[in-house]
Symmetry: C2
């Protein structure tokens, strides 16, 4: 199965289309949603990848964020992948909501137990773009990336490691320093093993920022001050300090009273789409 | 339990709040969501009731419609109730997706088996407004009503039977003539019995319109031309013909290529909120 269309719904003069394909990186079938604006009927359009958080599928962002209205205004496609391989059949894969299924953490596992299937980093950076650039009216030279929570971590780390491939990046409530928080430590110790902590740093926004000597990058980050995970898991203060220490100019906004939910995302998604559109049109 | 708050999320400078209360009309506990715009911190605000379709709960509209952005712009509250009593424990209640739980059809059942609990008409028109007008910063003199599918049927019939209580009405894909479609016939024959067809007409938009001699009302109705239920269940052509025959001036729009989903609703929800806001501000 190269890829097949599972569903198509008209929305904002364009279409939301759900696809399924056999992923070679993840050794399983994967689904993803794409919003194709009406402009895509006449040629390739820019696109924003959105990486979702723990427990999500390809559906949450497309159904709940309200992003389609603003993406349609700018003629930009949205690409919403799943958050992990599905049905890999690995023992313990479905035991936790914050590890395994629904929690791929956008890395390539090296622990032998997980290494065959849990390769979301290579899936998001190589396999999925190759597929959509070939099969869909997406301009692969004009793409950017954003995400929420675990997906905010994914978007920021993937951007920092592949800045020439993406026009810009933004994140809602990202897990900014996973090597120093419970969610990240649980995931990394299982997927990457406990011995090689340098390998962990390759998937950590704060650590990657420290290595970015003389390279200026820009990002938009929003987080709610009433987010239950703010101090324990997200480490946005550490991110902000690192950005400042490295002389980077990021926009990091603490939004008063907002939490970790899609109600928060939907409130600021138009801002984020506008941020991306500005870079994608250059 | 008078009522209690189950959850509160900040959104668009206001809040989405989920409440639970013991309903006397339905003889069970019921949940509903309210979006309270920031203006509600300083006084009572106008409100739009949204009645959902088959299988929905109080969550679908609030999470998927994208309505909050536009409601916040106009300082209007949204009230999203559930679609049936819950846990009534009636035999057969959970056997179908289009009857019983999740399918109250916004009527007061008269069949003895259903009559104690299935009283969504009285719940929506009397009990819920009394509760929110008393407990929340809602201006009960400035409310309107809208809905989708079964909820479009609910909104239109409730408006036609209580036009002085609501400033206006709108509907997405309403079941416009339930006495003549399979969904309606299944529901009405069970809830109202098979003998008294005049009783059925009291909950049928087309039939209620025929009785509206010399009273002019206005409604906005959107339906997708690719809606799988358009001909068999919705009967929008019959509605349009009846509206014309009665000399009413309704706006009934066939939206090309759209289906029955929330992707359709989200595309046109801003239009509907603007329609309501115009009447609510008068």
């Amino acid at each position: 199965m190269a890829y097949k269309e599972l569903a198509r719904n008209k929305a904002f003069d364009g279409h939301v289309v759900k696809y399924e394909h056999a992923s070679t990186e993840l050794s399983c079938n994967m689904k993803f949603n794409v919003f194709l604006p009406k402009e895509s009927q006449h040629g390739a359009v820019p696109a924003i990848y959105f990486l979702s958080g723990l427990t999500c599928t390809e559906d949450n962002f497309i159904q709940k964020s309200g992003a389609l209205a603003e993406a349609a205004k700018h003629g930009v496609a949205l690409i919403a992948p799943d958050t992990s391989p599905r049905g890999a059949g690995i023992e313990g894969e479905d035991d936790s909501w914050d590890f395994g299924t629904g929690a791929g953490f956008y890395l390539d596992a090296t622990d032998p137990k997980w290494a065959k299937h849990y390769r979301m980093y290579s899936y998001i950076t190589r396999e999925l773009p190759a597929l959509v650039n070939k099969e869909l009216p997406i301009d692969g030279t004009k793409v950017s990336i954003m995400g929420h929570s675990m997906g905010g971590h994914g978007a920021l780390t993937i951007y920092l490691k592949n800045a020439t491939n993406y026009k810009t990046v933004s994140a809602f409530s990202p897990i900014a320093n996973p090597v120093n928080c419970p969610w990240g430590q649980k995931a990394f110790s299982n997927y990457l093993g406990v011995d090689d902590k340098e390998a962990w740093k390759e998937y950590d926004t704060v650590e990657l920022l420290k290595k970015l000597d003389n390279v200026k990058v820009h990002a938009l980050v929003d987080v709610g001050t009433s987010d239950n995970f703010l101090e324990r898991e997200l480490k946005i203060d550490t991110l902000k300090e690192t950005v400042a220490a490295q002389g980077q100019q990021w926009t990091i906004r603490y939004q008063d009273g907002y939490d970790h939910s899609y109600f928060f995302i939907s409130t600021f998604i138009a801002d984020h789409i506008q941020h991306h559109a500005q870079y994608l049109k250059q």
